[in-house]
């Protein structure tokens, strides 16, 4: 097994063009487990953890670009205003894992339990892929991740990062697991309010073959907020039944299975509870004018 240690993105992409079978490693929190347990023996590993180009994030044209090599610790330290993203990042593994694990790793592995993924889905993020010769393409998150651990990345490509339009409004990420740390989500949910478009966006993790959005429930919540006059006056109360109905509609979107971490029925129930709570937090945050992005 060979390991190549490119110093620049250009060098890494040239290697990927010549040796598309090269398996990229950054934080190693997924790949090393497979190596340690002898589940995988790639001929060639490409260390992309030294590529400064992947470790940056920047604002551009009202959007945010988040490099694939940005670690969860870095997000918690540097991107505080993106509350749902920070909340999701804080639930990743442990401090040791957050110091290594990257957003690009979540995207590349494309597990439906990837903690950052429901947030990227709720942000309507695009995934940016690049290859040698400056050929770069952006795909909506749902066109990139097409199944459990399945993406449409080409062997010659690397994940450059994710990007999304920055919206104004509160949001949250919540996750169900057996304890607070070192836990793979049994179910997770990100809810984001887009004040300018008067929209509610909800994404679910670990309850389907890939991350799921709940468009019907999103439309219902936006209408409920309009009917109650809450968009104009955050203090105008939303009827209790609306929270209940919203939860049930979100749960109806889930496509969970029974597995070692939980049953489908439990997961569906968890989605309803998480959705209800997330909407209540958002409504309260609008009253206290907490900004969430």
């Amino acid at each position: 097994m060979d390991v190549l240690l490119p110093r620049t993105l250009e060098e890494a992409l040239e290697i990927k063009a010549a040796r598309p079978e090269a398996v990229p490693i950054s934080g190693g929190t997924d790949l090393m487990v497979e190596l340690n347990f002898d589940r995988r023996r790639p001929d060639l590993i490409l260390d992309i953890s030294r590529l400064a180009e992947l470790r940056e994030w920047r604002r551009e044209d009202g959007g945010l670009f988040l490099g694939s090599g940005v670690t969860y610790s870095q997000i918690v330290r540097e991107l505080r205003e993106f509350r749902p993203l920070v909340e999701a990042s804080r639930t990743v593994g442990s401090p040791q894992i957050r110091n290594r694990g990257t957003v690009g790793g979540n995207l590349g592995t494309a597990s439906p339990a990837g903690d950052a993924l429901p947030v990227l889905a709720a942000y309507d993020a695009e995934v940016v892929l690049t290859q040698a010769g400056g050929r770069t393409r952006s795909l909506p998150w749902h066109a990139f991740m097409v199944g459990p651990k399945k993406t449409v990345i080409e062997p010659s490509e690397l994940i450059l990062g994710a990007q999304w339009r920055i919206t104004r409004g509160p949001g949250s990420f919540s996750k169900i697991g057996t304890r607070n740390a070192m836990v793979i989500a049994v179910a997770s949910l990100c809810l984001v309010i887009d004040e300018d478009r008067r929209a509610v966006r909800v994404a679910l993790g670990s309850v389907g073959p890939t991350i799921l959005r709940a468009p019907e429930a999103e439309g219902f919540a936006a209408r409920a907020l309009a009917d109650a006059g809450t968009w104009d006056d955050p203090a105008a109360p939303l009827p209790a039944q609306a929270f209940q109905d919203f939860g049930e509609r979100v749960a109806a979107t889930a496509r969970p299975i029974d597995d070692v971490r939980g049953t489908a029925a439990y997961r569906r129930h968890a989605c309803a509870v998480l959705a209800r709570r997330a909407l209540a937090w958002a409504v309260n945050d609008r009253i206290t004018k907490r900004r969430g992005l």
């Binding site: 390991v3 090393m32 894992i97 740390a181």
Partner: protein, 157 residues
Amino acid sequence: MLVRTKVNGEWMTADVWGGASLLYMLREHLGLPGSKNACEQGECGSCSVWLDGELVCACLVLAAQVHEREVRTVEALATDEGLHPVQEAFVESGAVQCGFCTPGLVVAVADLLTRDPSPTEAAVREALSGNLCRCTGYAKILDAVWAAAGRMREGRR
């Protein structure tokens, strides 16, 4: 492949298999068995080390990734003058039973107290959430953290 790394202040070279972890390199090539090998999947924290100053699980770092970089292990904590205050606090608080998790916990506590000399209990629990102990029930480990924090604030290293 040859990996050249600064380990505990000294440049060292190891000829490792490409798929080897940093943990394997430390234990089997460099004679540093302080970092323990247990879960090999980042769950237990007993192989916690610093890589360029950041706390990581050595089992989840590919040895080749530390080429020309700096690693600090639990072996660097004690000096000729004695134990590190965190190690002293673990001994005095009875925070060690079988001892297997201890090196990782000592490293994680030292990392926390260097960054945050007066942590809240919540911060301590979060900082140690990646380190499993199957003996103590953690109460004495928390005692040791408070004792170590006191010692370090007094300036005993």
